[in-house]
């Protein structure tokens, strides 16, 4: 079994030259055999990307060189429907992560993206028969053009921000999920994203549409091997929760320490719909990610539960945005962060209550745990309320592992290291308990690994 921190040796079918220009964008569109409207959409987005300035707030992006990135790498000619037909070297990586085994036992469907393309996608027959669509975005563009065009780019337009414009210009891969009215998928759908090459940019785009009364839980995982040069991951994720539907989107991001992870995620929740972002940020050099929920219909609910772990050389600038546009809407944000060995975590959030969103309720809680005095943690919440009959609460705290708790546990015969691990597990429990059991076990292992030396 291969080690996921090492790259697979394989030869890509097509690798775009480094840098970004009109020709490269045209080439990507041609490689994918796209309709003219998509090529034009991409070129307009490229112009927006070039016109927009780099963000001057948040994490330091000065070392990110847009000219030193391969914007498109096509690993294989055709997508596989069975694991047997996936090229051996690529399959080894996904086997190391445990994807094929998980598919058999606990998932309703699986997608695996390697570099720029989805190399494997499979949905269990039971769900396909009920009209569920789970495929990669390029397939959706070809096979479900009307559905695709109706929703694509409606939640996050190209002009939203510089990196949304970049993604719109060079997007490739990602998942398209459509859940018909009343269908409740009781097992998660999973996608796994792997960057393999050095100086590679991965720009997947995910679109989930939940028709009225439906339910879907989508899980994504990400990893990349360790390189000296930086890689870029800039995804766009759009969720559309139609009346009475429920979308849960879980991310376990474990990029290596040379990846810039600059992602735009936004959901729209209509009447009585519920959207949940469960967001785990472990690896990467820089993460800037603020999952957003626009509560557009009456009684819509939004929840963001996130955890960020930053060690040496890492800056996790994560947070959440909730916009209440309709009355009786509720939201809940819980953010937990851990920083160690000079790591830097930031919570950056926005809570907005628009005029007319009366009887809205929102609760925000962000807690930070620090392990040493060379690390840093920041909190920047913004609360903007234009409606009188609302109930808003925000709380933040920063602390270290409490000596009192440590002594209490030690006095009951637990070693200091085990006591620290127990306290950290208790701190992140609110996140872990939201995960399916198999992931929860994995996260506890990941935390123990990340915290090695700090909690034993």
């Amino acid at each position: 079994m291969s080690d996921i921190s090492k790259a697979s040796k394989y030869t890509a079918v097509y690798t775009a030259p480094k840098g970004l220009n009109v020709q490269i964008v045209r080439d990507i569109s041609e490689q994918k055999n796209e309709p003219a409207w998509m090529a034009s959409f991409r070129l307009k987005a490229l112009a927006l990307f070039e016109a927009k300035k780099m963000p001057t707030w948040g994490a330091d992006l000065s070392e990110l060189d847009h000219e030193d990135v391969h914007y498109y790498v096509k690993p294989v000619e055709t997508q596989s429907k069975t694991w047997e037909t996936v090229p051996e070297e690529i399959k080894k990586t996904f086997e190391a992560i445990g994807i094929p085994q998980a598919e058999r036992s606990m998932l309703a469907g699986v997608g695996a993206q390697f570099e720029s393309e989805v190399i494997y996608k499979q949905l269990k027959k039971k769900w396909a028969d009920q009209g569920v669509i789970f495929c990669d975005m390029s397939t959706a563009l070809k096979e479900h053009p009307e559905l695709f065009k109706k929703y694509f780019g409606t939640v996050i337009p190209s002009h939203d921000n510089k990196f949304a414009a970049l993604n719109s210009a060079v997007w490739s891969g990602g998942s398209f999920v459509y859940v018909p009215k009343g269908v409740k998928i009781d097992m998660p759908l999973q996608a796994y994203f792997r960057i393999n090459s050095q100086s590679m940019g991965q720009f997947e785009r995910t679109l989930i549409i939940a028709e009225p009364g439906s339910y879907v839980h989508y899980v994504e995982g990400c990893s990349a091997p360790v390189y000296k040069k930086n890689s870029l991951h800039s995804a766009v994720v759009e969720l559309i929760a139609l009346p009475g539907s429920h979308i849960r989107y879980t991310t376990i991001q474990n990029w290596s320490g040379n990846v810039y992870n600059l992602v735009t995620k936004r959901a729209v929740a209509y009447e009585d719909a519920k959207v949940e972002w469960i967001d785990g940020n472990f690896g990467s050099k820089v993460t800037m990610k603020y999952p957003c929920i626009v509560l557009k219909g009456k009684r819509a609910q939004g929840q963001v539960i996130s955890i960020a772990v930053a060690s040496k050389g890492q800056h996790q600038d994560a947070g959440a945005k909730i916009i209440h546009l309709a009355p009786y809407t509720t939201s809940n944000i819980v953010s937990k962060s851990l920083s160690k060995d000079g790591g830097h975590t930031s919570y950056r959030g926005l809570l907005k209550i628009a005029k007319g969103a009366h009887h809205s309720k929102s609760k925000i809680q962000c807690d930070a745990l620090m392990f040493d005095d060379i690390s840093q943690t920041d909190t920047y919440p913004t609360i903007d309320v234009k409606e009188q009959r609302v109930d808003i609460g925000h709380e933040a705290s920063v602390s270290k592992v409490s000596e009192e708790q440590l002594q209490y546990l030690q006095s009951r015969g637990i070693t200091e290291q085990a006591a620290r691990a127990l306290i950290v597990n208790g701190f992140i429990d609110v996140f872990v308990k939201e995960l399916p059991m198999e992931y929860a076990v994995e996260i506890n292992r990941l935390i123990a690994h990340e915290m090695e030396g700090s909690i034993g």
Partner: protein, 251 residues
Amino acid sequence: MKSLTLTIPCRSTREIKLSECAADAQSVELIVGSSAQVVCIDDREYTQDSLEFSFNCIVQKNGQLLYCDQRKFTMQAVVNSSIIFTAQQDSVIRFEQWQQGGKKVKLVIDAQLEGERSEIDMRCGARLTDDQKQEISTSQLHQAPFTKSNCIIKAIVSGSARSLYDGMIQIVKAAQKSEAFQTHKAMLMSDEAYAYARPSLQVHADDVQCGHGSAIGQIDDEQRDYLYARGMDEDRVQSLLLDAFMEDLYL
């Protein structure tokens, strides 16, 4: 801008009324000497429509300062005030403010905890009506170990008034064992009332207690109904609950 420097000698005890000793000074520097104890009351009244103030308060080792800002302005006044508090070793600064008047009032408070074991406590309250706008910005900078700071901002906002708050707590690496808290609460009393809060934290030291809280809401229905059920009329109920909302503002 007329300026004035007041120096309070070491180990002395004073009560100062700025209306008596600094009636027309808009720039005031107050130096509280070592181990001195000072109560400073700013009870000046202004009729002008546009005013700028700057205060610089330095409290030296072991000194204590209670600063009560009770300035009164007309309802048309546009007022900009900036206050810098510098607390040296073992000193204690308390600041209390109740905004009276002013159409647009901007207050910038910069609290610097320079010396070990120094403490700064700041509390600001306001009842904003009509089209009043209050903009408060506070900074609590902990530069030394064992320092403590606390900031409470409360506003009852009615009419089309606006309450904006921007708060920052910064704890540098050397300021271990420090405690810093910040609370912002706004009670919105009308449909047009508006509140905005941005309470930020930047923490570089690990062994600290640090937190902030913000709450924006209206009078609690349950509390109101409880008092109605005991025979109180609407005005009495409202005034009782609003007084309770402001209660922890003063020491």
